[in-house]
């Protein structure tokens, strides 16, 4: 991993308020994620993983502290500017896929491309290429309801990859998949890791460490451990 960080958090605190009830969730977290690697954020339920990733992607604002996404201070920018940064820099993959049920696989991917400024015709053509790359060239016209869980997640990955984002952020992307399919999905996500790009995944699944360079372990709203993966990817093992 090298180059200036694609994500940076400095002394970030997040508390949620509900009336008089104040719930602290994150306590002064500082971390940097450089490009060129796949980082896992792990920890038990309630440890603050989801809040952390929401802050990293600008979906939440910190109660205090600073968050930078590809150099942009997203904790301080207006919402519209944060949305523009997300559109240009991030791709998302979710546990429950979040595909549009009324649209075909191709159109689901094309929507993201159209949002990035392409014409619909061009977006569909690029979407077909993206689906081809994730092995779904034969399922272009199928709607999500007609696809298996693994296929839906491939469509979601194709959607995230198609816009060539700097960072792909995933939340429990393999939780609903069987072991073999989960590893296929991780292989696909690893294809995005390059010298200027990164993948960040929240997961409970320790088997995924073999695909990661770095593991950040959360506990009670703090980083308990920030360490290299115990079973780094093949290319890293070969290099070492």
């Amino acid at each position: 991993m090298s180059g200036p960080p694609v994500l940076r958090m400095v002394d970030v605190v997040k508390t949620f308020r509900s009336g008089a009830l104040v719930t602290p969730v994150l306590h002064g977290i500082s971390l940097e994620i450089p490009p060129g690697g796949l980082t896992l954020i792990m920890g038990p339920s309630g440890s603050g993983k989801t809040t952390l990733i929401s802050l990293l992607t600008g979906l939440f604002r910190p109660s205090s502290g600073r968050v930078e996404l590809c150099g942009a201070p997203i904790s301080e920018l207006p919402e519209a500017d944060v949305a523009r940064v997300r559109r240009a820099r991030l791709g998302f993959v979710f546990q429950s896929y979040n595909l549009f049920p009324a649209m075909s696989a191709q159109d689901n991917v094309a929507v993201a491309l159209q949002m990035s400024g392409l014409s619909w015709k061009c977006a569909r053509s690029r979407a077909a290429d993206a689906l081809e790359r994730v092995g779904l060239g034969h399922r272009l016209t199928h709607r999500p309801a007609d696809l298996s869980g693994g296929e839906k997640q491939r469509v979601a990955i194709a959607r995230a990859l198609a816009t060539h984002p700097t960072i792909i952020v995933g939340d429990e992307v393999t939780a609903a998949l069987d072991g073999v399919t989960a590893f296929q999905i991780m292989d696909l996500l690893r294809t995005h890791v390059g010298p200027d790009t990164a993948v960040i995944l929240v997961t409970h699944d320790r088997r995924l460490e073999r695909f990661a360079e770095r593991v950040i372990e959360m506990e009670d709203g703090r980083v308990r451990a920030d360490r290299p993966s115990e079973r780094p990817p093949q290319h890293m093992r070969a290099a070492s």
């Binding site: 979906l59 997300r86 979040n98 549009f100 159109d107 929507v111």
Partner: protein, 375 residues
Amino acid sequence: MQRLAVTSLTHDRTKLASALAGVAFATTLVITQAGIYSGFVANSSAIIRHAGGDVWIMARGTRVVDFGETLSPGARSAVMAHPCVERVRPLTFTFVPLRKKTGGFDSMQILGFELDEKGPVLPWSLSQGLSHDLEEPMSIAVDEGDVGKLELPANPLGATMEIRGRLVRVAAVTRGIRAFTLQPYGFSSIRTARRLSGIADGRATFLVADLREPSCAPSVIQAAERWPELQAMTTEKFATTTERYWVNGSGAGAVLGFSTLLGLVVGVVIVGQTLYSMTKDYEPELATLKAMGASRGELASFVGWQAAFLGCLGAALGTVLALGLRRLVEGAGLVVVLSSTVLLGSYLAIVFMCSTASIGSMRRVLSLEAGQVFK
């Protein structure tokens, strides 16, 4: 976003059908009510507008065309004396009692007019016979819509009826000339009308003045009103006064307006409910779009396009239904005017309805928490 919004809407056929039914129902109701209202207004002054002329002269105190009083014989020559008056046409417009074939009594409004060389302007819509057929004494024209009510044969041409103890013959048949009071109209020469109404020769209930120059109408009115028994007004003013009298005075305007409003409220509720539930169903996807960087405008346009699609398709369906319903309503004796103004006004009301219905969904979309994509 347009494609996504419309595809999502058409994907759920059940919700689409209920929303379209709501918009179509509201459109039908609004168009029909507005059409009936327009028909009511137009009908109340139809006689005045079709008889035309520039200035109407009537007995002082007359408020509407339906309740005129007989003028003195000298009134016509008094009006004619004004240099700007080209001609004066006498009209009689009176209620007369009639006896039906089965022996029952009813009444009708007989409009008597002069048939001169310039050609008659009344009646304005004949389906059988000619205006000049009414020159024959004791001949009248009745409307084909009133044939049943008057207990005449299906083809009434040549049939006779008894008005004020006198036998009259149906010499012509009109189409669509129905009084909004639902009292049948009968058209005849002024001579016949006088005999049937008991009005002496040379007298009339209205005088319609055609002027050489319409701009001298105020001067003609002033001259006519020097006579203590007369009042005069321009044709347009008399028509408007009559319309206001019936529309406001009868309360029909308020009733029709309330029905239209009710239709709109029903439409707002149905369309609003459908859009809201659809927005709720699509929250995960909309939150995904927001996470991906969709702007507030793009997210709002999701709801906007759905509302616009429902509005356009529903309004088109509603218009077709309203056109079908028009025949039924007219069969019941009401006049429905579906003019371009009525349709345009109704469509604006539908646009307002769909816009109002989408407010709840818009607010929900705009306050959507993108962070929920990770929940």
